[in-house]
């Protein structure tokens, strides 16, 4: 009996926290720097779309036909990146390759997103040459002052994008006092038939500059673009933390003269030059219960008014009707072309509200982040809602499920889309 009692006591001591101390190791070989690094991710993204057969753009895709009841799309993406450091020179390469299987068949694209050399002349001055993202702007969903970058996808603003080929120099200096940092960036962006061929419409050598200030705990940037390929642009942005859990930011860009083309209800083009302002105002707020809200108001002076968009959708509807009645595809082809060239960019309209709410680890479920994103076209009241669930608990895996739901009247931006909903899964493996 006594032996039993001693054994029981030993067991209870062995199970106590003191004896249960775990061993954690830190192997210093893990932190030895290497000249080469490589990595990236592989991604598989299947999606199922539910068509909206009475919508304008569905009609353009399937005029007079019974289209498919559902559409499937499988994306396999490989993103590779590597760096090499040699003395004060840093080389960087990032590539993106997509293989897509959709109801229309197979397609693939490959592109170099970044390939540049960066020379750190001294801690104050850096010179970059090659294809590079400049990442100007403080907005999350949209950055009207990102003059040297391709636009973000508002459905997934964090998605990597390709940069432009440029030569740039960054100079930064810090000071004691309320003006903490001053930085200057100067960039030259050539545009030829082979280099930066989608940077504006004409061949020129373009110049851009940015002045960055960290002044009294506020990020302030002033920037300008000139040269001829794109219209002359000026911009400013700011960002500031008002509290530890509350940040505000904003951007404003002004284009003195920009050519804009829209489509009248009869299909004729209306072209005119005018000054254009683009504005973004936003905030980021973290609640005590770990919900992060990102709220942004977008004003896109270049966007189409509700009347402009109604005119185009009316023309597109009539082009479809004309085709189904007569078999003449002339207007249909024109409507498809104009849709692709003029009415597919985003933001398409003038005024938007963007709201994203994400809850970190609800009910103590570690690495699980549900979120919902709402985009509203404030002019035609159409909207897109995207609930999602992200799990990152498996090392180097990202698993995400999203549902896109679109709503609005038939002649509105989101109501005219060919699909009313889309279910999307994503599995991303980093290496």
């Amino acid at each position: 009996m006594r032996r039993w009692l001693v054994g029981l006591c030993l067991c209870s001591v062995a199970l106590s926290p003191t004896f249960g101390e775990e061993e954690f190791t830190f192997d210093f070989s893990e932190v030895e720097p290497e000249a080469y690094t490589y990595g990236g991710y592989l991604e598989f993204r299947p999606a199922l779309s539910l068509p909206q057969s009475d919508s304008v753009l569905y009609g353009l895709n399937y005029p007079g036909d019974e289209g498919p009841e559902t559409e499937t799309r499988y994306l396999l993406r490989a993103r590779l990146e590597g760096t090499y450091d040699w003395d004060d020179v840093h080389l960087q390469l990032r590539t993106n390759s997509d293989l897509v299987r959709s109801d229309g068949g197979w397609s693939s694209t490959s592109s170099v997103h970044e390939a540049f050399a960066s020379w750190q002349v001294d801690p104050y001055l850096t010179v970059d040459v090659g294809k590079k993202l400049t990442k100007w702007g403080t907005g999350y969903s949209w950055s009207p002052v990102a003059f040297l970058d391709r636009p973000k996808d508002p459905d997934e603003p964090d998605l990597p994008r390709a940069g432009y080929t440029l030569l740039s120099a960054d100079y930064v200096k810090t000071f004691p006092g309320s003006l903490q940092n001053v930085g200057v960036t100067l960039a030259v962006i050539p545009r030829t038939n082979h280099v930066n061929s989608d940077f504006g419409s004409t061949r020129h050598t373009n110049y851009a500059g940015r002045l960055h200030l960290l002044w009294d705990d506020t990020d302030i940037d002033l920037m300008a673009l000139s040269g001829g390929s794109e219209p002359v642009r000026y911009g400013l942005d700011f960002a500031r933390n008002l509290k530890t859990n509350f940040e505000i930011h904003g951007e404003w860009s002004h284009t003195p003269s920009e050519r804009r083309t829209s489509v009248a209800a009869d299909g004729t083009l209306r072209t005119g030059d005018s000054s254009v302002d683009r504005v973004l105002l936003g905030l980021r707020y973290l609640t005590p219960s770990d919900v992060t809200y990102i709220l942004e108001y977008q004003y896109n002076g270049f966007g189409f008014s509700q009347a402009n968009m109604r005119d185009f959708y009316t023309f597109a509807n009539e082009a479809v009707d004309s085709y189904t009645a007569t078999g003449d595809a002339t207007q249909l082809a024109r409507a498809r072309l104009l849709n692709r060239q003029l009415y597919s960019s985003r933001p398409l309209g003038k005024r938007y509200l963007y709201l994203r709410a994400s809850q970190k680890e609800p009910n103590d479920i570690l690495y699980f982040t549900p979120a919902v994103t709402l985009q509203v076209n404030m002019d035609d009241s159409s909207f897109s809602v995207i609930p999602e669930a992200l799990y990152t608990g498996y090392e180097n895996w990202e698993l995400r499920a999203r549902i896109f739901v679109l709503g609005g009247s038939s002649l509105s931006e989101f109501g005219s889309k060919p699909n009313r909903a889309r279910f999307e899964l994503m599995a991303r493996r980093f290496f």
Partner: protein, 245 residues
């Protein structure tokens, strides 16, 4: 009458002793700061988040600090987070994610790693920079410091710090809200010498009554005094933090 005079004298003595205690507490806090982290240094850290099931997630970071208010960190592992960098200048914090965009402002109460350590724990400034000593007492062989945040921008309003007064190093810190609610407890363990006169705990563990059963551990390696140019602690340098290693 004698009683009243006696009381007044006692009151006077206790009031005059309070600033002296606070002053010695402040001095002790400054010495703790210097022992925990040199004015300017670099280090490697491993962060381990442990779930109740025992499942772990690990992060490897390179960290550089200069003066009282400049800290930056670079994620080396896991592959998903590699290249991410954070910068703290006083109350301002930014997160840089390669590919995505320019550094975005983040808040001290968020956590870039998940788990119980938040951003202010990962990019911690000197305690004496953010807190005033409001009380000092003895608890066995340990000294207990009571700290109050100097401003509302500090992540935790109150700290209770148990200090090994001989080594001038904390053994435990309770982080509390302004109402006294316990947010988390930090346990400082495995005091060891890193060379160069740096002797500090090599491991900091934390748990939280708000996340029962979850724990996080921060381990220190290669802590070394090093001076940096101020320009290293700027937004433009974040993509190049790796060149410091």
């Amino acid at each position: 009458m004698q009683k009243i005079i006696g009381t007044l004298i006692a009151l006077f003595l206790s009031l005059s002793a309070f600033p002296a205690a606070a002053a010695s507490g402040t001095q002790l806090l400054k010495e703790i700061d210097r022992n925990l982290q040199p004015v300017s240094y670099e280090a490697y850290r491993k962060l381990i988040n442990i779930e109740p099931s025992g499942k772990r997630k690990e992060f490897l970071l390179y960290t550089a600090k200069k003066g009282g208010d400049k800290v930056l960190s670079l994620f080396l592992e896991p592959a998903r987070d590699k290249g991410r960098a954070t910068l703290r200048l006083g109350d301002n914090m930014w997160l840089y994610i390669p590919n995505v965009g320019k550094p975005v402002r983040i808040t001290s109460m968020q956590s870039v790693t998940g788990g119980i350590f938040n951003n202010s724990d990962i990019m911690r400034l000197d305690y004496s920079l953010e807190y005033n000593v409001t009380g000092q007492s003895k608890s066995g062989t340990l000294t207990v410091l009571r700290l109050k945040a100097k401003s509302r921008t500090v992540a935790y309003d109150k700290l209770v710090m148990w200090v090994d007064a001989k080594r001038k190093l904390p053994t435990k810190i309770e982080c509390r809200t302004s109402t006294g609610t316990l947010v988390k407890t930090l346990y400082f363990k495995d005091v060891k010498s890193f060379g160069g006169g740096i002797t500090r705990p090599a491991k900091v563990e934390t748990d939280s009554p708000l996340h029962k059963g979850y724990r996080s551990v921060m381990m220190f390696g290669k802590v070394k005094k090093r001076t940096f140019k101020d320009e290293v602690f700027t937004l433009g340098f974040l993509p190049r933090v790796g060149t410091l290693r």
